[in-house]
């Protein structure tokens, strides 16, 4: 990829982020908060200390993985927004597998298997029945939510606190990279997953076929590629990423190492991942960067709430504005025209 091709999408994401931050400031001001104070508290919390940086990276971990789900499917021409539900089953599988085997590898394997399995219904509905994946994956997210809630409150419930699940046994947890922080080896797993996704898409024959059929189904058929198979693979590999996101989150995030009440600690990652992927231009390497950026927002949200009194959901407003801005086509050209009108 040469520099010029890379610059434009990168700049568009930067512009979108800028718009998000600016509009966010306006929303803050209108809601009676000081935008400067709020953003300062946010940056302070996310980057101002070793603990904050660790929190940023650990918050980036699951959403990088769910971002990969969206990106891999988007590269195949599919809008898979089913990461949310897949995360739940990845987390559940990790708890169940580690309860049985007390080994971190088994936990990760559980996340992978359940993630792949839960992606299949939408894949088959798409390929064999033509059901649009946006509808099927959203419905499956809700089915997953209630199904997972049943398992959390039932089979996997903690006998001492029935609102949450049993914890991952200590021997099966992912170790911390930095002591007394939230940063576990899960972050490294997410980065490796991104690198592998990049490798898959651009350095394997399978990934080549997936991208070809995503760009142009007719030409891919001419090239001997089976677009249906490409779509199924994109769902399965994407599902693995989200399954891992759930597994890594419960196996690597102190202190509880369990699914908490109402599944609050594994909720929302699927949707955050869509934003991460879009801002990362659906590119695994871009996702590493945008994942860390979104992780920063998440990590700083708490200190923004404590220090500036701004509800922590504010960061989701900023995220949402960024994604809407990313959807505007030719953002870079628009801005260039706006500022470059006098020239030439």
């Amino acid at each position: 990829m040469n520099g010029k091709n890379f610059l434009k999408p990168f700049m568009e994401s930067i512009i979108a982020v800028t718009i998000g931050v600016l509009v966010g400031a306006i929303v803050l001001a209108f809601s009676g908060y000081s935008p400067l104070e709020a953003y300062k508290a946010l940056l302070d919390g996310a980057l101002g200390s070793k603990y904050g940086i660790a929190l940023t990276l650990s918050s980036a971990t699951p959403i990088m993985l769910t971002g990969l789900t969206f990106a891999i499917s988007a590269r195949t021409g599919i809008f898979n927004i089913g990461a949310e539900g897949t995360v739940y089953f990845g987390a559940i599988a990790a708890i169940a597998f580690t309860a049985a085997f007390a080994n971190p590898l088994m936990g990760l394997l559980g996340g992978i298997l359940f993630g792949a399995a839960w992606s299949l219904p939408a894949a088959f509905l798409k390929v064999y029945r033509g059901v649009h994946e946006v509808i099927s994956t959203i419905m499956l997210n809700w089915i997953a939510f209630f199904g997972a809630l049943y398992i959390v409150l039932g089979p996997l419930a903690n006998p001492n606190d029935p609102n949450k699940t049993i914890s991952v046994p200590e021997s099966a947890r992912l170790g911390l990279i930095l002591k007394e922080t939230d940063l576990s080896w899960g972050f490294v797993i997410a980065v490796i997953a991104a690198l592998l996704s990049y490798y898959l898409l651009w350095h394997t024959v399978l990934g080549y076929g997936m991208r070809a059929s995503g760009y142009n189904e007719r030409a891919s058929k001419y090239g001997g590629i089976n677009p249906k198979l490409a779509i199924i693979w994109s769902f399965v590999i994407g599902g693995i990423m989200s399954g891992l996101a759930g597994a890594v989150e419960v196996m690597g995030r102190p202190p509880s190492y369990a699914i908490s009440q109402g599944m609050a600690n594994i909720h929302g990652y699927g949707f955050d991942g869509i934003g991460v992927s879009l801002v990362g231009r659906n590119h695994p390497l871009g996702i590493i960067l945008s994942g860390i950026f979104f992780g920063m927002l998440k990590a700083g949200a708490t200190s923004m709430q404590i220090e500036a009194g701004v509800p922590l959901e504010m960061v989701k407003v900023v995220q949402g504005i960024i994604v809407v801005a990313v959807a505007v086509p030719g953002l870079w050209d628009l801005v260039k025209n706006l500022f470059g009108r006098g020239r030439q």
């Binding site: 809008f79 033509g130 059901v131 419905m139 869509i274 509800p311 959901e313 989701k316 801005a325």
Partner: protein, 300 residues
């Protein structure tokens, strides 16, 4: 409660639950008949539920809340229309953006406005008729009326003919001097406006509360209903009643202890979503979307 009462009770409940689904489906049908796909209705429902409640409480009147919700829907319809129709952007991504934005705005807004976390009891209530089988909202009749009028306009008037023509074959419409962009844009706005009305109904009328996940996938169920009904408003009314029945049933069972002992409530709660998938999978191939649905139109 005897069996017959229970049936009537649930059918009445279905009428109540169908309102947001039908409004959104009818709006989506108009938008897609004109060729614009919008998957942001979920977010529009959510935001209109939130802002509708604010409007209602500020104006001291439930109807002001309903209009406020419709207004918010309209604004987001304009945003979506500007991106898809005039800037020729992708039709799916702006919808995803609006849905994500809604998640943030509502969660943030509930705390910022009312100082509560995640939930607010709306102070203003819609006046309803109270029957032994539960309350009946005037919005049920308004929804039916809107559906019938929309259906009539879509299939009997020049406006409807033109809307349908730009979604089926924009080249043909353009060749006859019809402004494709104008019709597409306003059809999109109308669709979102109806969804906004449905959103305000959730908080100000039916549920009487604002929560950060009050839309609960209804925006997408409404899209499924639109497909199921073949992009036809009157069919969407009946489809909405069917989907509403399962929506209401799952809520009713959840709060009914005698059933809870037999089936876990979570399984019942998945019912509307499973029904949606099954119906859409079954009906596809038998219905046909507008030919230029979701395709940006640029003249040669």
């Amino acid at each position: 409660m005897n069996a017959l009462d229970m049936v009537i009770f649930n059918l009445m409940g279905a009428l109540t639950a169908m309102v947001p689904l039908v409004l959104t489906s009818v709006g989506a049908a108009v938008s897609e008949r004109a060729g614009v796909v919008n998957i942001g209705y979920e977010g529009i429902l959510l935001m209109s539920a939130f802002f509708g409640a604010i409007f209602a409480e500020m104006g001291g009147n439930a109807w002001i809340g309903m209009l406020g919700g419709a207004f918010i829907g309209m604004l987001f319809g304009m945003l979506h229309g500007a991106i898809t129709v005039y800037l020729k952007g992708d039709h799916i991504i702006p919808g995803i953006g609006i849905n994500l934005l809604a998640l943030g705005v509502v969660a943030f807004g509930i705390t910022a406005v009312w100082g509560t976390a995640g939930q607010h009891q709306v102070a203003i209530k819609m006046a309803k008729w109270y029957t032994p089988y539960g309350p009946v909202s005037p919005m049920i009749f308004i929804t039916i009326l809107i559906t019938l009028v929309t259906h009539w306009v879509l299939f009997k008037t020049p406006l409807g003919l033109r809307i349908r023509s730009v979604g089926e074959n924009p080249e043909a419409a353009d060749a006859l001097g019809i402004n494709v962009e104008k019709y597409r844009f306003w059809a999109t706005v109308y669709g979102s406006l109806l969804a906004g009305l449905g959103g305000a109904y959730l908080s100000v009328d039916w549920l009487g509360t604002v929560t950060k996940d009050i839309s609960s996938g209804r925006g997408f169920i409404a899209l499924a209903n639109m497909v199921f009904s073949g992009w036809n408003p009157i069919n969407a009314l009946f489809g909405g009643f069917l989907f509403g029945f399962f929506d209401n049933l799952s809520i009713w069972v959840r709060t009914n202890p005698s059933v809870q002992n037999i089936v876990p409530w979570q399984f019942v709660a998945t019912l509307p979503y499973i029904v949606t998938i099954v119906i859409v999978a079954g009906v596809i191939g038998k219905v046909r979307p507008p030919k230029a649905d979701g395709k940006p139109y640029k003249r040669e």
